[in-house]
């Protein structure tokens, strides 16, 4: 418990700028996506195991609060992927790029790319909360 408290207060007090914020965001988006993933595997497995549960889960996901959560989930998936790509590529192919200024820039670009991908999706999904019949496709 003390280790956890030290870690959490450290996250708030340590001023690690871009590197620390991307570490925190990577961790939070990863854990959040995993939480939904577990639920999602079970609700989709219910298509076979328990049709009633499958239908109930679908009804639940249509509630506006779950659709808001879905928009947040899309952000989490985009950010975790973009930031994970930065980490994986630099770790495995460009280790000399692990320099503080290069990575501060890369971390900012990661967020910009995420927002460019996410904002149109979020607007579209947000509009659909109020207009469920709306579709561009």
């Amino acid at each position: 418990m003390t280790t956890l408290r030290t870690a959490l207060t450290g996250y708030l007090r340590y001023r690690g700028r871009e590197g620390q914020y991307s570490f925190l965001l990577h961790r939070l988006t990863g854990l959040g996506t995993l939480l939904f993933l577990v639920i999602h595997i079970i609700d989709m497995a219910a298509f076979y195991w328990s049709p009633e549960f499958f239908q109930d889960a679908l009804e639940l996901y249509r509630l506006p609060i779950f659709q808001l959560g879905e928009i947040a989930l899309v952000f989490a998936v985009f950010y975790h992927g973009a930031n994970g790509l930065r980490i994986a590529v630099v770790d495995m192919f460009l280790p000399h790029q692990w320099a503080i200024n290069a990575q501060r820039n890369a971390a900012r670009w990661t967020l910009v790319i995420t927002l460019l991908l996410w904002l149109p999706a979020a607007l579209y999904m947000g509009y659909r909360i109020f207009n469920p019949e709306f579709s561009l496709f």
């Binding site: 280790t3 956890l4 870690a7 961790r27 990863g30 854990l31 996506t33 995993l34 993933l37 577990v38 595997i41 079970i42 989709m44 497995a45 219910a46 298509f47 076979y48 195991w49 049709p51 499958f54 239908q55 679908l58 996901y61 249509r62 779950f66 659709q67 879905e70 989930l73 899309v74 998936v77 985009f78 992927g81 994970g84 790509l85 980490i87 994986a88 590529v89 770790d91 495995m92 999706a121 579209y124 999904m125 659909r128 469920p132 019949e133 579709s135 496709f137």
Partner: protein, 129 residues
């Protein structure tokens, strides 16, 4: 100009090294795999257009069954291993970590089986018309 010192490091080929590589290789592979899934299902189709008939129309096609099995296998193994790495940052007692590893392994195996079995046998579901 400062002299450069080089240092040789022998990386042990143990479970942690494999896990470290796994997180990176699977992560790169999952960018097309997961992003296509999310853009297609969450953004383009959307939950209001989804029902049992929609799921049946996908799981009646071998391509999407294989796609979803890959999705399940890669994302869930990556996610549970990630959770294990996060927990290792806050919990240091070896006996606790041992039980966490065993617990996560069982959790991963059970959930993966439930999901994969459902995809493989989807056409036997009563929802499959």
């Amino acid at each position: 100009m400062a002299a450069t010192t080089t240092r040789r490091v022998d990386i042990p080929q143990n479970y942690e090294t494999i896990s470290w590589k796994w997180m990176r290789y699977s992560g790169i592979l999952m960018i097309p795999l997961v992003w296509v899934h999310v853009i297609l299902q969450d953004v383009i189709v959307g939950v209001h257009a989804m029902d049992a008939a929609y799921v049946a129309s996908r799981w009646g096609v071998l391509f999407w069954q294989v796609y979803d099995i890959l999705l399940l296998g890669f994302t869930f193994a990556h996610g549970v291993n990630g959770l294990r790495q996060v927990l290792r940052d806050y919990i240091h007692r070896p006996d606790y970590l041992r039980w966490i590893n065993i617990g996560l392994l069982i959790f991963w195996a059970v959930i993966s089986f439930i999901g994969a079995f459902a995809i493989v046998n989807a056409t036997n579901s009563v929802l499959f018309q």
